[in-house]
């Protein structure tokens, strides 16, 4: 039995016929052709057999359980989203989520008992801030404006200090959400770099296991003071970020 070339029109039409792609007139003509040409009928038999085999042997598997959730949360559709997310930030948070998985050891346990990684979330929030139209929800270099802004938004308004004379001017503040806990984030600037400083109440919701020094190029400095855990995140050099942390801790320019 001679076999028609695979680019032979009649062969393509047999495949299209089996795939239900032909209109009734063409389907009829192909059916007639198959009844007259055994080679085409045999082609049809093999293709049907192959399709049955694939159907029986290769069940369609679902995506891994975490994938959908990661995609959803990375586009800001679920938890820890800010009032004004930007798609640009999504890029970053997806990238970060992909990179840091497994490297961070700070865990937040939210009410659904899903451990989440504080450092990872804060870096995502920082990047989201960089990418958003504004990195802050309240824009002000005046700590007397920023501090009261947090009143009524979170339970404890944060310590806000003025570091402008040390070349770390205050840009403003925003509320980030960790798991389901709203936390205050102050944004300072050093030259062209922004620093997100988040105050996380060190209560029982947060399980401490250590902290990464950096995630995906963003440096992290963390310290605890008066029951509050502070996280400074920036693309500043680690040394400069340390200086910032020291200045913040020792500053007397407080409201």
């Amino acid at each position: 039995m001679s076999r028609p070339r695979s680019d032979d029109n009649s062969v393509l039409l047999v495949h299209a016929y089996l795939d239900g792609e032909l209109d009734p007139a063409n389907a009829l003509s192909v059916a007639q052709q198959m009844s007259q040409e055994p080679a085409l009928a045999a082609e049809a038999e093999r293709v049907k057999e192959l399709q049955n085999l694939i159907h029986d042997r290769l069940p369609r598997e679902a995506a891994p359980p975490g994938l959908r959730a990661r995609i959803e949360s990375s586009v800001g559709a679920t938890r820890h989203k800010r009032a004004k997310p930007s798609w640009l930030a999504l890029a970053a948070s997806i990238a970060v989520a992909a990179v840091v998985a497994g490297t961070s050891t700070w865990l937040v346990v939210d009410s659904r008992q899903q451990p989440m990684q504080v450092a990872e979330l804060l870096v995502s929030d920082h990047i989201r801030g960089l990418m958003a139209p504004e990195p802050v929800d309240v824009v002000s270099s005046d700590r007397h404006t920023v501090k009261p802004w947090f009143n009524g938004r979170i339970s404890n308004s944060p310590r806000v200090v003025d570091l402008a004379r040390d070349d770390f001017p205050l840009i403003g503040g925003r509320v980030d959400v960790l798991g389901r806990t709203p936390v205050s984030t102050l944004v300072y600037r050093r030259a062209k770099h922004l620093i997100s400083l988040t105050a996380v109440p060190a209560d029982s919701t947060f399980a401490f296991n250590g902290s990464p020094q950096s995630i995906n190029g963003y440096n992290i400095v963390r310290w605890t003071e008066n029951g509050v855990s502070y996280w400074a995140i920036s693309d500043l050099e680690p040394k400069e970020l340390e200086i910032f942390a020291q200045l913040f801790r020792t500053s007397q320019n407080e409201l």
Partner: protein, 207 residues
């Protein structure tokens, strides 16, 4: 994956310093965002399984497929406003496919044939296919198990593999496949016929 700022920063990030003003809630933007989110939910999220399976067939493993799908979802989100309301599954799968090829190009440059070369690959293969005279009997392949079948599909050159997967596993119609793989329907038809023939050959040789 690296993070690259996607546009020049303005406003508070610019060297001139931040504007001193209070920003209240960005209602207009929020509505715009909700809209995008809603579209993303309607257009992308229902097809994550399909996206994952296609990425898996193209990259060859689940971990890489997850990376590709995440990346592709992001691209889809970026492009969601330009999505013109055609077939959402085909639209998303075309993004997944392009993302997978970029990923392969970057991560496995030695094993992937550049997409530009696909036509050459096809011509070469069609000659090889038609040199063979054997006509495997349908009954011969019925014994193939899932692993053999998977391996045989994995061996197909990418343009044949993606076409076969989209049709015989995912059940897309020719028009959708043409859209997803960005080729004319005639090309879909010839790729599909060749893909099936090659697969049948491989399976009958396994026995």
């Amino acid at each position: 994956m690296s993070i690259t700022p996607l546009r020049p920063r303005t406003g508070p990030n610019s060297p001139e310093g931040p504007p001193i003003r209070l920003v209240t809630s960005g209602t207009q933007e929020s509505i715009g965002m909700l809209d995008d989110n809603a579209r993303f939910r309607a257009v992308v999220l229902p097809y994550i399984d399909e996206a994952y399976r296609l990425a898996r067939w193209l990259t060859g493993n689940g971990t890489d497929a997850e990376d590709v799908v995440q990346d592709a979802s992001l691209r889809a989100f970026r492009a969601i406003r330009s999505y013109a309301g055609g077939n959402p599954r085909a639209w998303l799968l075309s993004i997944v496919r392009n993302t997978a090829y970029s990923w392969l190009h970057k991560n496995r440059p030695t094993t992937i044939v550049a997409v530009d070369d696909l036509e050459a690959v096809e011509r070469e293969h069609v000659k090889a296919d038609d040199r063979r005279d054997d006509t495997p009997e349908a009954s011969l392949i019925a014994k193939a198990d899932a692993d053999q079948l998977r391996a045989a599909i994995a061996k197909l050159p990418a343009p044949f593999r993606e076409t076969l997967v989209l049709r015989d596993i995912e059940g897309l119609d020719y028009r959708e496949i043409a859209e997803a793989t960005e080729v004319p329907i005639g090309t879909v038809m010839s790729r599909l016929a060749r893909a099936r023939r090659r697969l049948l050959e491989t399976l009958s040789q396994d026995d």
